[in-house]
């Protein structure tokens, strides 16, 4: 599939419903596509990615790890050199709720950040085929990767949906 003849067809839309229309059409033709938008909209999600995001699972796992790690840190460090303070137990569990709690959040938060990095594929140092700076401004975009012989079909589907312009980028 991956060869030099692959093209990127870029549709630029002013209106979100037009773009979604195009997505539906492209999807119907089984094309691989990316839809770009200046904002996240649930309408877009419903069309493009209706499943739940796995980020949540990662966050939960990390948070649980953090909780265990926080408690373990406090307990093990205290037991490593047991020093009494004020007749309190060496491993005073109530006091260790704080490190446990804080590390739950810390690990959970950092895990979520990691999840974003992994799932959103950032940091991304590469140029992106078909990306247009207007997408971060006020335009919606639908980019389709297709073989050279499918370009016209895709282009037509986009124009039909109401694209402002459709570009074909050669050297994908």
């Amino acid at each position: 599939m991956v060869d030099s003849s692959t093209r990127a067809v870029v549709g630029i839309f002013t209106y979100m419903d037009d773009a979604l229309e195009a997505v539906k059409k492209v999807k119907a033709a089984n094309h691989e596509y990316r839809m770009y938008s200046p904002v996240p909209r649930h309408e877009i999600e419903e069309v493009t990615y209706p499943e739940k995001s796995p980020v949540r699972i990662v966050a939960l796992a990390c948070a649980i790890t953090g909780c265990i790690a926080g408690f373990a840190l406090a307990i093990l460090c205290s037991l490593d050199w047991p020093m009494r303070t004020s007749a309190k137990n060496v491993a005073s569990i109530p006091a260790f709720f704080v490190p446990g709690y804080e590390w739950t959040i810390l690990f959970g938060g950092l895990g979520t950040l990691g999840a974003i990095f992994v799932f959103c594929k950032i940091p991304n140092v590469l140029r992106t085929a078909g990306y247009d700076p207007r997408f971060s401004h006020d335009k919606f975009g639908v980019v389709v990767a297709c073989a050279g012989n499918q370009v016209d079909d895709v282009k037509k589907r986009m124009m039909d949906s109401g694209a402002d312009e459709v570009d074909v980028r050669e050297s994908l």
């Binding site: 020093m83 009494r84 303070t85 004020s86 007749a87 309190k88 137990n89 006091a95």
Partner: protein
């Protein structure tokens, strides 16, 4: 401020002990620390602190093992009580002074001044070589270094040429010097003048009139049931404060405590410990004494008196009505009658007079009346031992005459040593002018010679043409005679630091230069003289092997036979006593005048302690003030003069003025202004000079109490003028009420039947009722969420008997000396940053009397780290710098401390101290630093450790012996030195230890424990007060 110990950036000299354990060069290290904090990258890599050296001895010293202390016995020379000392030395340096348990005077204890004798030895301003006066500048005289030979030559020349009088002014000489001076004075034709303002000469004179012998009797306070005291501060400075405090305390904590009435216009430390303090009009005490005599005659308690005297006494006391005495003395007649009642009811009693209250223009009548009282009450031979009398040689009139002679040009040669008349004699006499007359002209218009034998450039020494630096007490030989038979040896505990000589050797050299033979030829030096005299005096005991006896005596500290000389009760009343005037002599006061009331304090005595930073920074037990003098003024009077606490006050007489801050307190008579003696030096050293401006002695009138030959301290009128702004009063405690917080508690015992009646929570009897209420920390059952801490071997604990604690603050200085606690200076104390680990809290509260009135109750509460089992400070430290160890101690690890100060915030007792700055010891004072205790660096917390170094040492020794530490082997510095042995330390785990027993005492409680459940390791025993 000049003279502060804090030297933040300058003059940090790397000190090294003789063993070469160099102290860390703080400057560089701190610089690196600062760098490290700001830039984590190791800029340290390029900085190499100077390498440390480790210096061995050249020759082995058999007495020294590096790192092991050697102890030497000696005798204290700070005052004339003659307390035995044990000096701890490390690598040849004296580092700590403690009482010698063998000495009958102090029985192992030592007062604050005695302990700070180390700061005489290591006084940074000591004279280090012979000096010759170069000239005068506006800032004072300038001296240049000279040689011993030159000065001896000059002296010899002057002695040869002298045609007029030759005068030697000394302090109250120790016995060895007295023995040497007797031939010396006569052979060399010197007249001796003795001047020591602390000597109770009036007491001695009155003894002569009533008992027949000149001298100060020995008192047995512990044998009295009732003590009535006219101002004698026997818990502070009077004759033998350490010994008397012990006697007093032994009685107070016994089954039958003595009842103590104190009569004085000002609340002194001694008065604060009395059951009843009666605020008398100044100089009116004699009327009280006469009134009591009259009352006793009425009640028939005259058994000790010869018949004829009784008749004359009746005559003398005729017409003294209670009302009249109330009018004269300002004391309610009920109280006066009560005092008379106490005395007449008591089997044995003691009446004393002394101190400033008795230093009036005619002190003799009061002293005589007191002696008569003792005779009437049958106290002679019981509580007053007139067979053991010390005869003070001090004479104010001699000195006054000598000054007049000098002014008149009748003196050619003047030697001074051991006294400071240039400061401690009323400036009105013009001592300095007189000395200049000797120095400039001499009698025969040739230059006279003034030589001071002195280690310190004080007001007297700086008048001299030449100064010969002499050894301080810890470098010198000598002996004192604390009782008639006993001899307490003064033995050097270290080699002289500087080019100094013993006074004895100086005198011997002068004599031999003048070809006078005053001692046998084989005695070539003063130490030989001391040894010979000692062995002579004890020849009966020495047996054959005198050398062995001498070594044993040196080790013991002297020769202390058991004294069973209680003496007879035979008195010889001189009829001339009825010729004395028993009236009150007080000057007429103008509106802007008050009667000046200078008093010696435990801080400075007569001024001799003024250059000792420990004594300057020691909080005065009553006023809690530090550094310098203050003027105690009654609130009513203060209002009249428009003064408030801390205002600058100028006290002015025709003869001089003193600038002091006002200290407004109810506990002085409204007619007086009370000032501690001994501050406001113009010379003597950096600390003395920095503390205060203008000396009290400068205000005293040119009048001597001629009948008693002592200084008239009280009775002069002084103008009180509001100065500009703030008078720089610095106190460490600003709030005096316990607010019902039951910190210091009192057991009120009542009536004639002594015994513990009931406990009250604190001095406010109301609200806490009688019986064993809530406040019984000692029996407080620990309520504990967590399992109780196990203490496998030891659980160290301390118990403090408040009934025995007088508030004398000796423990504070002991702690300061032992634990390298820095002296920080007035400014930093004023910021609330004093470093002392022990604080003597002083509270004024009131006790309800039977008739519904209120009596003042002064409480002293020594407060140090309580080593709580549930210490609030411990769990809050983020780095375990403080934690609980298995010996029950609240451990503090300085080097782990990062300085959050959370522990201090959370300490309910506020006993933790923070190092706000890097405190450094000035040169020479740093020699005293205890090598066993870590010096704390800036930014760390510190606190009482129960002298962990002593615990470690005792455990180390016990381990060598294969056993546990036994009871009594560990005495922290405070416990060791306490004059009243109010403190007990030991192992609480061992239920038979002394401290366990004390902690189980029925008076025992723990401060704040019933509020906070902190479970301190320090127990307190309720104070005891008689119900008035």
């Amino acid at each position: 401020m000049k003279g502060e110990l804090v030297q933040l950036n300058g003059n940090r000299k790397q000190a090294e002990t003789q063993s070469g354990e160099g102290l860390v060069n703080i400057t560089r290290r701190r610089f690196l620390q600062v760098l490290g904090a700001t830039s984590a990258v190791g800029a340290a890599a390029c900085a190499h602190p100077a390498q440390q050296e480790i210096l061995p001895y050249v020759k082995a010293d058999p007495e020294q093992i590096p790192g092991v202390a050697a102890w030497y016995s000696s005798t204290c020379t700070e005052c004339s009580a003659g307390c035995g000392l044990r000096v701890r030395t490390r690598e040849g340096r004296a580092v700590k002074v403690e009482g010698n348990p063998n000495s009958p005077v102090n029985r192992g204890s030592l007062c604050a001044l005695g302990q700070s004798t180390l700061q005489s030895l290591y006084d940074s301003d000591r004279i280090r070589h012979p000096l010759k006066k170069k000239g005068m500048t506006p800032q004072g005289p300038v001296f240049e270094q000279t040689t011993w030979d030159e000065v001896y030559g000059k002296i010899n020349e002057a002695l040869t040429n002298a045609t007029n009088k030759k005068v030697l002014i000394t302090g109250e000489p120790q016995a060895a010097h007295a023995d040497l001076l007797t031939p010396w004075l006569s052979q060399l034709g010197f007249g001796q003048v003795v001047w020591d303002p602390m000597q109770p000469v009036a007491v001695a004179k009155a003894s002569e009139l009533v008992y027949g012998t000149f001298g100060v009797p020995t008192f047995s306070i512990d044998k009295a049931d009732v003590v009535v005291n006219f101002g004698a501060d026997f818990l502070e400075t009077f004759v033998n404060p350490v010994g008397y405090a012990r006697q007093w305390a032994d009685s107070r904590r016994s089954e039958h405590p003595l009842r103590f009435v104190h009569i004085e216009p000002r609340l002194s430390l001694t008065g604060a410990n009395a059951d009843l303090w009666l605020k008398s009009n100044p100089a009116s005490e004699v009327r009280v004494a006469l009134f009591i005599i009259g009352q006793l005659i009425q009640r028939g308690r005259t058994q000790g008196l010869p018949g004829d005297t009784l008749a004359s006494l009746k005559e003398l006391t005729k017409g003294i009505t209670p009302e009249a005495v109330e009018e004269e003395t300002g004391i309610a007649k009920e109280k006066l009658l009560l005092v008379a009642q106490y005395l007449s009811d008591a089997d044995s009693s003691l009446v004393l007079a002394g101190g400033t209250a008795a230093s009036t223009s005619n002190p003799l009548p009061l002293q005589v009346a007191v002696n008569i009282l003792n005779v009437m009450l049958g106290n002679i031979g019981k509580t007053v031992n007139i067979a053991e009398m010390a005869a003070p040689k001090s004479s104010a009139s001699d000195l006054a005459t000598a000054i007049a002679d000098m002014q008149a040009g009748k003196v050619d040669v003047l030697f001074t040593y051991g006294t400071n008349p240039g400061f401690t004699f009323p400036a009105a006499y013009g001592y300095d002018y007189a000395v200049n007359q000797v120095s400039i002209k001499g009698g025969n218009k040739k230059a006279g010679l003034v030589v001071a034998f002195s280690s310190f450039l004080d007001e007297t020494a700086q008048l001299a043409d030449y100064i010969l630096p002499v050894h301080t007490g810890l470098e010198d030989w000598g002996y004192t005679r604390p009782t008639q038979d006993a001899i307490s040896i003064i033995q050097p505990s270290m080699r002289p630091i500087f080019d100094t000589q013993s006074v004895g050797d100086v005198l011997l050299t002068i004599a031999s230069n003048a070809n006078k033979s005053i001692v046998p030829a084989d005695i070539t030096s003063f130490d030989k003289f001391v040894k010979a005299n000692f062995l002579n005096a004890t020849s009966a005991q020495a047996g054959g092997d005198t050398e062995k006896f001498w070594m044993a005596s040196l080790e013991k500290g002297g020769y202390f036979p058991a004294s069973n000389n209680n003496g007879s009760s035979k008195v010889a009343i001189n009829p001339s006593i009825f010729q004395l005037s028993y009236g009150i002599s007080r000057p007429h006061l103008h509106d802007d005048e008050l009667i000046i009331y200078p008093y010696p304090s435990v801080k400075t005595f007569d001024g001799r302690a003024a250059n000792k930073p420990w004594m300057q920074e020691l909080a005065d037990p009553i006023t809690q003030a530090v550094w310098g003098a203050w003027a105690e003024i009654h609130p009513d009077t203060a209002k009249r003069f428009g003064l408030k606490q801390g205002d600058a006050v100028i006290l002015r007489t025709d003869d001089g003025e003193a600038h002091v801050p006002a200290y407004v307190t109810e506990h002085v008579h409204p007619g007086i202004v009370a000032i501690p003696l001994g501050q406001g030096h113009s010379a003597y050293g950096r600390y003395a000079k920095s503390a205060g401006q203008g000396s009290v002695y400068g205000l005293l009138p040119k009048s001597i109490a001629t009948d008693a030959d002592s200084l008239q301290l009280i009775g002069g009128a002084v103008k009180v003028v509001r100065g500009l702004g703030n008078g720089d009063l610095v106190t460490v405690q600003d709030f005096s009420s316990q607010l019902d917080r039951e910190l210091s508690r009192t057991t009120i015992i009542g009536g004639a039947a002594a015994g513990v009646a009931h406990a009250v929570g604190d001095a406010h009897a109301s609200g806490h009722g009688d019986g064993h209420g809530e406040g019984h920390g000692g029996h407080h059952e620990p309520k504990q969420m967590y399992e109780q801490r196990e203490h496998p071997l030891y659980q160290w604990g301390l118990a403090i008997d408040l009934a025995a604690c007088t508030g004398c603050s000796a423990c504070v200085v002991a702690c300061q000396a032992e634990n390298n606690i820095p002296v920080v200076g007035k400014k930093i104390v004023n910021q609330g940053r004093e470093m002392s680990w022990i604080r003597i809290e002083r509270y004024y509260d009131s006790i309800k009397t039977e008739d519904g009135g209120e009596e003042l109750k002064v409480s002293f509460l020594p407060m140090m780290c309580q080593h709580c089992q549930n210490a609030p400070c411990e769990p809050v430290c983020p780095v375990y710098a403080t934690y609980h160890n298995e010996e029950g101690m609240n451990a503090m690890v300085y080097n782990r401390c990062v300085g959050t100060r959370y522990c201090s915030n959370n300490c309910s007792y506020k006993v933790r101290r923070f190092n706000w700055f890097q405190y450094e010891w000035p040169e020479l004072l740093d020699w005293q630093v205890n090598p066993d205790v870590t010096k704390r660096t800036v930014g760390v917390m510190e606190k009482c450790t129960f002298c962990v170094q002593r615990i470690a040492e005792a455990k180390d020794i016990a381990k060598d012996l294969g056993r546990l530490v036994e009871d009594g082997e560990i005495t922290p510095a405070c416990v060791q030195t306490c004059p009243t042995q109010a403190l007990t330390f030991g192992n609480l785990k061992d239920s038979n230890s002394k401290v366990s027993k004390v902690a189980r005492h029925e008076r025992a409680y723990k401060v704040l424990d019933h509020h906070l459940n902190t479970q301190p390791s320090v127990s307190y025993l309720n104070d005891i007060r008689y119900k008035a």
